[in-house]
């Protein structure tokens, strides 16, 4: 079963990271899921693949009533992001899925009806969670062509999908980045190969660099906090991406 760690709390406004499942088979990439709650309602960010649904669902339900989930935010269309969608919807058919308008006709292959999907236009969208305004921030081509991150201005947290992801060895299973230089070595190859556009990366760094961020939460690996957030943005800005040796 995955563990839940509350990374932000202010009254009933919470961010919970659902991470690290020791029982997960090694051939499945490790993922972080996040739960944002406010006013008794919840939103799951990148709820994960179908195979890890039991682990995510059980961990989440230990922390929060899953019947009170209003929706899913999917940063993009990959199977590790939201192939569990049909299971969440079967549990709670009223849930909505926020995703790039590029993917709204593709994701129904994982499940859902015409009512399920709330398309996010290219420029982004404000998403209300019981009065808490969350912002879908454009991150196109990083790596998916229709890609969004989610910013919580109050908690000062940016959920950054695959940006900031690191494929960490088993020995580095901490929730937060503790040694940036040691950590970033495990992120470099991933970003060079997966991120397809230097221009898109530049725009993202400019946009995100102007935001007030305490924590940058990727979908794989550890969370950047404090000074490591800016360190990461600067590192990413310098990195040449879209590179493959073949």
């Amino acid at each position: 079963m995955k563990t839940t760690k509350t990374i932000f709390q202010d009254g009933n406004h919470k961010w919970v990271a659902i991470v690290r499942d020791p029982q997960k088979p090694n051939f499945i990439i490790d993922t972080n899921e996040y739960l944002v709650t406010h006013g008794g309602k919840g939103l799951v960010l990148d709820p994960g693949g179908v195979e890890i649904f039991p682990a995510v669902f059980s961990a989440l339900s230990a922390e929060f009533d899953p019947s009170a989930l209003t929706g899913v935010f999917a940063s993009h269309q990959d199977p590790d992001i939201c192939s569990s969608l049909a299971l969440w919807l079967e549990f709670n058919p009223g849930m909505r899925c926020y995703i790039s308008n590029l993917w709204v006709t593709f994701i129904p292959h994982f499940g859902g009806t015409a009512e399920t999907f709330i398309p996010i236009p290219d420029e982004g969208l404000d998403i209300s969670l019981e009065g808490l305004m969350l912002k879908a921030i454009p991150a196109h081509y990083l790596h998916s062509s229709g890609n969004f991150h989610l910013y919580d201005k109050v908690a000062k947290i940016l959920f950054s999908g695959d940006v900031g992801a690191a494929l960490l060895p088993a020995s580095m299973d901490g929730l937060f980045v503790e040694d940036f230089d040691a950590h970033i070595r495990h992120a470099e190859g991933f970003h060079k190969r997966w991120m397809g556009s230097n221009e898109a990366k530049r725009r993202w760094c400019e946009r995100v660099g102007q935001m007030d961020i305490d924590m940058l939460c990727p979908q794989h690996g550890a969370i950047y906090r404090g000074a490591d957030v800016e360190r990461f943005i600067n590192w990413f800005d310098q990195l040449q991406v879209g590179i493959v040796s073949a």
Binding site: V50, E51, P54, F57, P66, S67, A86, E90, F91, N92
Partner: protein, 208 residues
């Protein structure tokens, strides 16, 4: 609920096995459909040959006509079998997909027991599972019946082919050609009979 879950889990491997068996039956039916088309062409040729042979092959001509009707009936019969097979494939595919999802819900229920909404999902799934099982049982019976009908039809085809062999002997100067054609008929009908016999023995029909 534990009982329902156990029942569901016990059925899981069966869907995969059933799907494999249905796919094999479908392949066999496709073969029979192909062969029945061949009989139709053969019967047409036999009719022309009987006409050329004149009065000596009148009996053979009648039988060739009957064989042509038989091949058309057989094709119609096979089309209905194909329809039933497709319905079975669809049903078992749904069960297979449901089983995979049910398995994931089972695991979630083990890790997060006592969640009432989750138990409701499992209960709903159990009811759906029963519906699919009943539908599949119905289709299985229909398929078995349609297969029996096809077999009876092929028995008749066998009798026609054998009668054509006898009639060929009266074909005077055409006797050799007529014997060759009727022999081919007999061979093809036997081939179909063999296929249908093996279909009847499919373990798919051993289930409910």
């Amino acid at each position: 609920m534990t009982t329902a879950l156990t029942t569901m889990s016990a059925k899981k491997p069966q869907a995969g096995v059933d799907l494999l068996r249905i796919v094999r039956i479908n392949e066999q039916i496709k073969r029979v459909v192909g062969v029945s088309f061949k009989i139709n062409i053969m019967a047409l040729n036999a009719i022309f040959l009987a006409k050329r042979a004149g009065t000596a092959a009148r009996g053979f001509g009648v039988l060739s006509n009957e064989l042509r009707v038989f091949s058309q009936d057989l094709r119609t019969c096979m089309e209905s079998l194909t329809g039933l097979i497709h319905a079975c494939v669809n049903e078992v595919s749904v069960v297979l997909q449901d089983n995979r999802l049910a398995n994931l819900f089972d695991r979630a229920a083990e890790l997060a027991p006592q969640h009432p909404a989750l138990l409701a999902v499992l209960q709903r799934r159990s009811v759906e599972d029963e519906k699919h099982a009943l539908h599949l049982t119905k289709l299985r019976r229909q398929l078995k019946r349609a297969l029996e009908d096809a077999f009876q039809m092929v028995e008749l085809g066998g009798v026609l082919a054998k009668s054509a062999k006898i009639e060929a002997a009266y074909g005077q100067s055409f006797a050799a050609s007529l014997a060759q054609v009727s022999g081919e008929f007999d061979g093809v009908v036997e081939e179909i009979r063999g296929s249908l016999e093996s279909l009847r023995r499919s373990p798919f029909f051993a289930g409910n």
